[in-house]
Symmetry: C2
Subunit: 333 residues, 2 copies
């Protein structure tokens, strides 16, 4: 596997939708995603159920998901209390959101940036006190790293100051997150290059959104910087309500196609991913699902990076039935 | 100006729509695009009007457009006859579609690849015989350069063999075209790097589609290879009928935003571009227009690359009113 596609739909996607997906539907979806070859899935968020009722069953979803062989089960927890609940449910990898924007940090987790870093330090100290078998990996996504809807521009130097402090606090990996879809490819390449130079093995992955259609462009830029872990959500669920076409997270289906077409093995099967999309659609009837590949299919001649095989079923080439070339003159001669 | 955005909507977009935009509406749209800062516009196609009735007024549109100061007026012509008509109308830059796929070449222009190259040679010889003031620049877009809906895989070596032969035939610039939306960023970077190495100053720009959502990712990849000219169409008109969300060409609005956000000056004003979009919508009432930026607006803190200014009106930041960050936990503390 060349690139790890980390599916965040069951957490990031579902928490952005007002409806709550039934617990059994979540479990079915997670199992279908794992069957398609996803090796890491963020299955829920350990926050107070009054704030995010969609995530109230996080412990149940975790308990089911950790039974799936070979799957890394991730959960989000914003503070010590959430981390303790996540660990109790059996989570062994936890992502903590820390915001580089002071105003967003206060609005989102009621902590200043400094307080959030201190919370991470406390969490890591507690983690180190646990028996090895229960000890979770702590992953940080520095949110608003590329800009903030409240504050606007976020100073890049401050992002790296935070990243260094978070590494010293004991976080295992520190990635950069663009949950608002502000990032552009030049910025993504520059910042991930610097992150990897400054943090080495603790440099984490990219959490990118597609608010301005730039999600996959930012993936291409992050690949240039050497990033090998990308968050995405199936069907791009949880899109921006102010932009009908704008997905939330980058769409897993489109991301997997692009990576495989580029010759980068993801270990994911597009036909089984299409099957997981049907499971998702059954669990959230009528909810808008996004993505280009599910409509268009792979191009004629597509081959998986590793296997050198074409998809069998739903993911297969439909290019020959599709659009005319742009410069079609339909036999002008 | 760091990057030339070459607007192809009035040709590539309109010819992909079954309805015909009235000539005066085309002229208004071209003028609005030029007013927004577009420096090059492909305004029509000189093919037989029975084949593409939407382009039957190409000469009239050219005659109006060449009055606009500072605008490079491009037209497509597939053969000598079309080139002669284009020159007669006053066109001084002509793009000829030459396909790298043998099957597509036969289907599209009823010529084999070899015959198409010979036609370019004849056109260039005729061009050289003209008085200097009438002599058009001949630009080639090698279509299906990244794959073909009929043939599937197209051999890369063959694309560069063709490019070299087209340069020897007298073409001023030879670009690569992905009118079917097959290209991926690795391929785009590799092929444009080679094109520039082999053709030097005759290496042309990128014509990219967004069929699988990868259009801007391929722009980012082409920028890595040093490409500085990109085709796009306002509103992404002429989308693929098999994929409701899939635009045809990459969307000018999204492209301009991304380039400017990356610090690359396009000379284009987003507010005036939004005005041109209204002119387009008036000329084609009810036609689907695509793009993320027109819905979402620029991000808070956006500045133009050159001017360091924020947009005034419709292009301005609407980020603060838009989506919550992805890792929103809404004050989980």
């Amino acid at each position: 596997m060349d690139v790890l596609v980390s599916e965040v739909g069951p957490r990031d996607g579902l928490q952005s939708i007002s409806r709550t997906m039934p617990t059994t539907a979540k479990q079915r979806w997670v199992r279908a995603l794992a069957a398609a070859g996803l090796r890491e899935i963020e299955v829920g968020s350990f926050v107070h159920p009054k704030l995010l009722p969609q995530m109230a069953d996080a412990a149940e979803v975790v308990r089911d998901a950790i039974q799936i062989p070979g799957l890394t089960v991730l959960a989000l927890a914003p503070n010590m209390k959430g981390v303790m609940r996540a660990v109790e449910a059996g989570t062994r990898k936890i992502t903590m959101p820390v915001s580089a924007s002071h105003l967003h940090s206060l609005a989102n987790i009621r902590m200043s940036c400094d307080e959030a870093i201190e919370e991470v330090a406390r969490v890591c100290a507690w983690r180190d006190s646990l028996p090895e078998a229960q000890r979770p990996e702590i992953e940080i996504g520095i949110s608003t790293a590329f800009g903030c809807t409240i504050q606007g521009v976020v100073e890049e130097d401050w992002v790296f100051t935070m990243a260094a402090r978070l590494a010293r606090a004991g976080a295992d990996s520190i990635g950069l997150s663009d949950g608002v879809g502000y990032a552009n490819p030049a910025q993504v390449k520059r910042m991930f290059t610097r992150l990897r130079a400054e943090l080495g093995e603790r440099a984490g992955g990219a959490h990118l959104h597609n608010t301005r259609g730039q999600g996959l462009a930012n993936v291409a830029a992050a690949l240039e910087a050497g990033v090998t872990t990308f968050d995405s959500s199936q069907g791009g669920i949880g899109g921006c309500p102010y932009s009908p076409g704008a997905t939330g997270n980058i769409v897993t289906e489109d991301l997997v196609w692009m990576l495989e077409a580029m010759g980068l093995d993801t270990g994911i099967d597009l036909d089984l991913l299409a099957e997981a999309r049907r499971v998702l659609a059954e669990g959230l009837p009528g909810e808008a699902l996004y993505g280009y590949l599910p409509d268009v299919g792979t191009e004629k001649g597509f081959r998986y990076a590793r296997r050198g095989e074409a998809p069998e079923g739903t993911g297969r080439a439909r290019g020959s039935a599709a659009c005319q070339p742009a410069d079609s003159v339909a036999a002008a001669g």
